[in-house]
Amino acid sequence: MNTEIAVELLKELQRTTEQLPKYDQSLVQKVIEETNRKQEQLHEMVKQKKYEDTISKTKLHILNYMIERNEQILTSYHLERGKKLIEMRWDFGSVIPNQIRENITQNEESFHHEYCQILEDYMNSLDLDLTQDHQPPSNDLYIEVRVLKDYGQIFIDGGQSIVELKKNSRLFLRRVDAENLIREGVLEHIISN
């Protein structure tokens, strides 16, 4: 049975049913320590000039492959987590729910914040909200929605009106005003056939 402790990081990401599992600081630390140990062994062999015979050369190569393998896995782990954070911005908005905030590191939070900022700047330059319309929109400017939870008051019509969102009430709202709240799970889009 081959045992690469780094591979467990990727398996954790695959196994999880949550949006983003908790950052495994202890396992990442173990992988880094293992890589550093291999690095020291490599340097020691090079320093003592133990690379003249075939066996020593092979050992050096193998140590090098192990170091590269760990680096590859660590990079892939952090990249996958970064991709999930980006996906969350498009799927849910710029606010990170508390349950997910507990699972991410400070670096990841600042990455998410910077990404949101870049996206906002880009959308402002185009004067377009690119995160709207995840499904092809119908011709309806207004849609019927049901309120799933008491949410309080919101601004609609570009900030000109206020509407109260009470549980189980049905409203006609502009699609652009309702879409984000539907995606957050506050409203439900009702289709009448």
Partner: protein, 233 residues
Amino acid sequence: MDFFGNFLDPQSILAQSELVPVKLLIDLPQLSQFNSILSSQSDSLFEIDFTETETETETETTEMSKIYFDSTKQKSPKIYLPLWIAIPLHQQKAVQIQMPYNFSNTFHSIWKSDSTSIKLQKIKRHFYTTGAILAQIFNDENLIDSMSQMLIKRFLKISDLADEPKIEQKDLITSQVTTDREEFIDNLDWLEQSLFQIGKQNSKQYQIWKNRASHKIQQSNVSVKTLKRFRIN
């Protein structure tokens, strides 16, 4: 020669952990020491199979692993290495990768004739990826051809199962069908499981379209998985 495609793709990385048998081309008399230097803190990197050796007259164990080797035997033990180390060593001619028994010509006729009953996950989690790499190394077109035909036959069954709704209520007759279905799905290779998941999503999207609800705005996956709601006044 690029064997694994995307360098940072998690599935490619996991596929590289699959073990293949190798033959040593260089002399490694201190195999156990060699292994103890290279292994991580838990078990050994290499898996050494001693089923082919007869009686062991001398054994040597490392503190970290359960490796034994018989220094008096001329026949060298069979060694299994993960692909990520076997391929570069093979290219440097330090080891020679050997065709695993499960991918040999013996099995090709079984793959073609009885494709849907084979439990691929028990052979290799990344069966097709490993097979494709072995075919590249050994220049074996027959292997590619056999795997392709097997995948086509299995794909027909996978796409049928993906379209079927899951049977919730079981009676004496259908419970058997459901068990077979579940068993087949549980034993798919990762590529086939991805195809199955895509098939299920497509089936769901088709139903939504059929119900004239494809323009319905869906709740995001994040909010579905996150149960708490905010209350703002």
